[in-house]
Every structure is written in structure tokens, then in C-alpha cells.
């Protein structure tokens, strides 16, 4: 089974610029997550989709972050404008969407904001 695909792997931008990340989940996985992992911390949920609807975006900084999941498959996460504190690894994960099943993560995008 193909895993969760993410691109790009690395991105360096200046503050106030915009950036977008792409994720393709495991085929058949209804639930898709975007997590932010700051160095030395555990992943923190930004947004959770069930098919193409948002389940939880309570920790998404909506003044600068946006995400969409068109047709219930691929997803994009955008940051505009970026701040220095957005430097982190952005992890996409997917799951079958039922309790008792784990999340499967992609390799992440490492974002550096200078």
C-alpha cells in the first residue's frame, strides 16, 4: 500500500511571504490531518478533515493559515503571510476515520521562515 505523500520536502521563505503544502493520503482513508511539529515538541493538530468536511480546526490560526480538501482526497495547507514562528515540520496524516485505527503519517515538509 502506498503511504501518505507530501510535497515539497523542504521550503525556505522569508517572513511575510506565502507558502503552500500538498498532501495525498492513503487510498480509501476518509480522515486527513495536518499537524505542526515545532522542534523539540510533539505534533500539534492544526486541522482535521472527514472526507471533504472540516471536523476540527480549533487550533488553526485562521488569520494566516488555510486548508482545503477538494473532492475528499488531496489536501493543501497554505500560510499567508508567514511569520518566523511558523518554522516547523508540517505533517500530513490519514486514517480510516474510525476509532481503533491509527494515523499514518507522511514524511512532512520542513519549513524555515527567515
Amino acid at each position: 500500500e502506498a503511504g501518505v505523500a507530501q510535497s515539497p520536502r523542504y521550503k525556505i521563505i522569508e517572513k511575510r511571504q506565502s507558502v503552500a503544502f500538498w498532501c495525498n493520503p492513503i487510498s480509501g482513508h476518509a480522515t486527513l490531518y495536518w499537524y505542526q511539529q515545532i522542534l523539540g515538541q510533539g505534533p500539534k493538530l492544526l486541522i482535521q478533515f472527514q472526507n471533504n468536511g472540516v471536523v476540527d480546526d480549533s487550533q488553526l490560526p485562521k488569520d494566516r493559515f488555510s486548508a482545503e480538501r477538494l473532492k475528499g482526497v488531496d489536501s493543501t495547507l497554505k500560510i499567508q503571510p508567514a511569520k518566523l514562528e511558523d518554522s516547523a515540520v508540517y505533517l500530513c496524516a490519514s486514517s480510516l476515520g474510525r476509532r481503533g485505527f491509527p494515523l499514518h503519517f507522511g514524511n512532512g515538509t520542513r519549513l524555515t521562515v527567515t
Binding site: 480522515t31 510533539g42 482535521q48 476540527d56 486514517s95 494515523l103 503519517f105
Partner: protein, 113 residues
């Protein structure tokens, strides 16, 4: 307020010995727990899970123990191998969280040859 804590940032163990990684949680509603392993420049990889109806789950060299009254779980790796050197995260979910998981800060395990 951290709901999932891993109080040991790092742990070193000799190859062949037992590694014990600990995790504490504060939310009594958590009823499903996962352990993940993460190598540098890779995403976290699922290792093992346990639900609150059990107090132990085994998968090969990995065993997870859950003590609900103490709100504590631990991951045992026996025997430890150099390839086990990684950062280990525990994660927890509650019924009202849907499929959302809260992660601990991780413990870096080094297995010395």
C-alpha cells in the same frame, strides 16, 4: 496545559537490554493510546496501540502497559537494538475527540552497541 506528558526527554540503553519509555496523561476521558517511532527527516511510524479495556498489548519485541488508575502507560522494548534509536511519541484520544490524537513531546532513545 500538556495533556500528554513524556517527562524523560532522552534515554540511553545498552543493546540487548530492556528499554522502558513512559507516558503520563491528565485527561481521564482518554481511552485509546498509540506509540509512534520517528527517525530524523521521516514522519512518525505507528508502532503499537492499546485501548482502555486492556492493560497490556504485545507485538513482537514491543509491549505497551496501561495503568488507568495512575493515568500512566509505558512502552517496553525487549531486547533493544541499535535500529530502535529514534524519538518515541505517545498519543492519546478520547471518545469526544473523534479520531483526533493529542501527542506527547517525545523521548529520544539511544541504543548503544
Amino acid at each position: 496545559d500538556q495533556q500528554v506528558k513524556q517527562n524523560s526527554p532522552s534515554l540511553s540503553v545498552q543493546e540487548g537490554r530492556i528499554s522502558i519509555l513512559n507516558c503520563d496523561y491528565t485527561n481521564s476521558m482518554f481511552d485509546y493510546f498509540l506509540w509512534y517511532k520517528k527517525y530524523p527527516a521521516e514522519g512518525p511510524t505507528f508502532l503499537i496501540s492499546i485501548s482502555s479495556i486492556k492493560d497490556k498489548n504485545e507485538d513482537g519485541r514491543f509491549t505497551v502497559f496501561l495503568n488507568k488508575s495512575a493515568k500512566h502507560l509505558s512502552l517496553h522494548i525487549v531486547p533493544s537494538q541499535p535500529g530502535d534509536s529514534a524519538v518515541y511519541f505517545c498519543a492519546a484520544s478520547a471518545p469526544n475527540y473523534g479520531q483526533n490524537f493529542v501527542f506527547g513531546p517525545g523521548t529520544r532513545l539511544s541504543v548503544l552497541p
